[in-house]
Symmetry: C2
Subunit: 504 residues, 2 copies
């Protein structure tokens, strides 16, 4: 009886904790949304003060001995919990251990380092000055290596960070994954370059009035199945999606007058993320499970809409007349076939965020190999520019003229985000594998050919979105596709697509 009371009380206390964490998360999301959608720049000082307090409270609410004790009691009574509660507790324990095992002094020092490092990175990138950034990166790597020891790991000190963004993922699996990509995508790219076929995409750089781009984006979101009445779609400098609640999902895009594809494909990409967040089971509201299960699975949902659907032949054929009607000037003398090819033009670029569908994962592979080497000490920070440039040349056949366009291009490392990049490539591979399963049950080409996303979004929602974080990435993949991640499907998909487009 007394023990049972303990457990009931622990559950009640834990639920109160989660409510508080949820409120802090909500507030942080709103601070961010507000700051990038119109808040006056002059408010930055007051906002920083408030954001610092809220992130401190968030830490205090989660990392304290009472939470540790409550979780321990609930873990002992796992049998008495509902399925949802059991996963909630497992998630909470994971988040707890991630931070609690690190001495608080070192944790705070690291956060201060990150703040300084992000500011330094911005300047170093502008100056293309890697040596000036090197000491920051060195300290970050040293700290992360030490944190791995505190947290404990199997096999490789990089593993805890991979697991942070993709539960269950590790170096062993990712080595196999990227090996497959290296063996099949690099040769494919070489064949395309040797073929020398020119794809014209110049018409995407003509003049596209911003209001018309916006109307098209809004219509596209509706076609995809995003419910605008339960969300908010605006513009910001960098497109993003934020799931405040399944009934309050916000996304942005960014339009350029002289670039049709950038704004439109960002809308579709973020729309995929947003549809995921919007279709999570309302029963999970307010819990730590009411969000997509991992970065990789999330990315699979943005990529399946952006690449597998939007850039497909049947959908391009369906949407092109509509687009050409709305933007008649820039698309004069452009055929549907030209439109499709331009949407899928392969052109190795120095910058990851500008990469096409085929070369994107190669940018990630390069970063994965470097992160692994930095964390296990086999790559020295001082050698980074050289290593970066050599890999760029080997995988993509191009060499950065300076470090700003090379090793300094991404914000991630300055923010301590190690282990994050792989989820972009995983997303692409998951998307191909999921699309394959989808095709077994639904006439995907038929749907896309008549612009009908209802069956596609319905299937994805039912099989994936609905569960939020109730299932981990591996469970999702096995249940939806019948097997764990298998990169061959992704490579098959790319080979088939580009062999046709480039007449290989």
């Amino acid at each position: 009886m007394e023990k049972n009371q303990d457990y009931q009380q622990a559950l009640k206390r834990y639920q109160e904790t989660e409510k508080k964490i949820h409120a802090m998360h909500y507030a942080s999301s709103l601070f961010f949304w507000d700051s990038v959608t119109g808040a006056p720049k002059s408010g930055v000082e007051a906002r920083s003060m408030a954001v610092e307090v809220i992130s401190g409270l968030n830490h205090t609410f989660l990392i304290n001995p009472q939470v540790d004790e409550d979780l321990a009691i609930l873990e002992l009574h796992a049998d008495e919990l509902t399925d949802t509660q059991r996963v909630q507790i497992r998630e909470a324990r994971k988040n707890y251990n991630k931070i609690a095992k690190i001495p608080i002094g070192e944790y705070k020092k690291y956060n201060a380092l990150i703040t300084r490092s992000e500011i330094a990175w911005e300047q170093c990138k502008e100056d293309s000055d890697f040596p000036a950034f090197q000491p920051y990166l060195q300290e970050i790597i040293d700290t992360l290596r030490r944190f791995s020891d505190y947290r404990g790991y199997r096999d490789h000190p990089y593993n805890p960070y991979l697991d942070d963004y993709e539960e269950g993922m590790d170096v062993k699996q990712l080595d196999v994954f990227f090996d497959a990509l290296r063996k099949r995508i690099v040769p494919l790219l070489h064949r395309i370059r040797e073929k020398g076929k020119v794809v014209d995409s110049g018409f995407f750089q003509r003049k596209f009035p911003l209001p018309d781009q916006e109307t098209l984006s809004v219509d596209m979101l509706k076609w995809m199945g995003f419910d605008l009445s339960r969300g908010w779609f605006k513009e910001s400098v960098h497109p993003f999606t934020i799931g405040i609640d399944m009934d309050d999902v916000r996304l942005t895009t960014h339009y350029y007058e002289k670039d049709f594809l950038s704004g439109f494909s960002s809308t579709v990409h973020e729309g995929g993320h947003a549809i995921y967040e919007q279709n999570i089971d309302p029963a999970l509201r307010g819990t730590n499970l009411a969000t997509g299960t991992s970065n990789g699975i999330h990315e699979s949902q943005s990529r399946i809409y952006e690449n597998n659907f939007l850039r497909s032949q049947p959908f391009c054929d369906w949407i092109y007349p509509e687009v050409a009607k709305r933007f008649s000037d820039p698309f004069k003398n452009v055929t549907s076939a030209m439109f499709y090819r331009a949407m899928n033009k392969v052109e190795p670029s120095l910058i990851r965020v500008d990469a096409d569908e085929l070369t994107y994962s190669l940018h990630i592979m390069l970063r994965y190999e470097i992160e692994q080497g930095l964390i296990d000490g086999s790559i020295r920070v001082c050698d980074l520019p050289e290593v970066w440039n050599a890999k760029m040349e080997s995988y993509l056949g191009i060499k950065p003229p300076n470090d700003a366009m090379g090793v300094l291009q991404d914000v991630h490392w300055s923010a301590g985000l190690f282990g994050y990049f792989p989820s972009y490539a995983l997303g692409n591979a998951y998307a191909a594998q999921i699309e394959r399963a989808l095709r077994r049950e639904i006439d995907v080409d038929g749907c896309l050919g008549r612009g009908d996303f209802t069956p596609l979004t319905g299937w994805l929602s039912q099989k994936i979105h609905h569960f939020g974080t109730l299932k981990n990435p591996m469970e999702i993949m096995v249940e939806v596709t019948g097997e764990p991640l298998n990169p061959q499907y992704y490579c098959d998909y790319l080979e088939k697509k580009y062999t046709r487009i480039y007449d290989l």
Copy 2:
């Protein structure tokens, strides 16, 4: 030495407390701003959860024995504090005592009552059903009477609530104040009605395209001296101003296509509030003093722009050609003199928020008398409709056809906001008294006659806005005008203005 350490530590702890309260306040402000400027309605459930947590945290941070102890230590060391710190501590103590003396159980029960009561009021107003609302109001009054006892008061149980919104204000002073208004405004209104002069304002109800109204509002805010780069101006159903920080002041208005005056005067009114918040000394950032000192003084700043400036003859003469140029159709055959008279038309209305400048304070007087009677028990809740209607007839000469347009019209009482209404009338009277002081130093008519607010806004900022809550209302009035509140100036102002307009 040890004692000094105690004091240093108490100061540090108190400053941490204030930081947390500031962050919660910031978050609450943002939740509100977000919810009324476009957030999807469907997000209400998640938002309610978060808002509840944040208001709970706000309470926890302020009302706990450690804060009480810290304040006590700091009060003992008042001599060692800076001037600003001393006022901060005084404010904090006031806020602490306001809540801490009430038993926590009763406080929570009251908050739950308010939530239910606000919902009930909405329905009762729709149904014009006072008896259905009566039990809620009865329970609120009973609770507030009990809370007065807990809090302690001098002379009258209504006094603590008056002091909440207007530091230092009490029944004794307000009785004198409203007596003066009753003796001079009611007869003035009777003279106007007897005179029977018809003022045409029908042209304000013609068609005013919304985008043009918005442009005019933005221009007007700039003319007034509001710095749009340190704020955010949007539209919402009910106009309001929120000072998140002196460098992040947000305000809204609401436009109606067939009502020129509503949106425009709301902009000017909120603009006055916003200019106040924007000109607070940045040295007060993040403290509990970084906001206007009281509701009454705040209202004086909105009213001085809306009534004393905007509705003045010289400003109407200056702005009319500009307005007539932008809205040429509706103002065809309208002269500047007609425009000025229409801006100042007197027409007793049943609804407070629609009241003209002259009758507005009479609506407040009626509410003040009723609140006082309800709290001291001399008016019974069940008699309220009858009392309301009798007073309406006596002061304004009109009688509500139903309770929705009478006693049920305002949300305030359902939300427990007793003591709030008087600040509206105080604002009007303060404004007249402040304008009189302003005229001693600056050629107000000259400035308004050339649309030049710079000297006016500059003077108000330097004399009032700058200090935030560093000075209380009485200190402001004495230092700025040379004497405490004196309602005769307000009555003089009204008599002079309306005698001319209505040829009395």
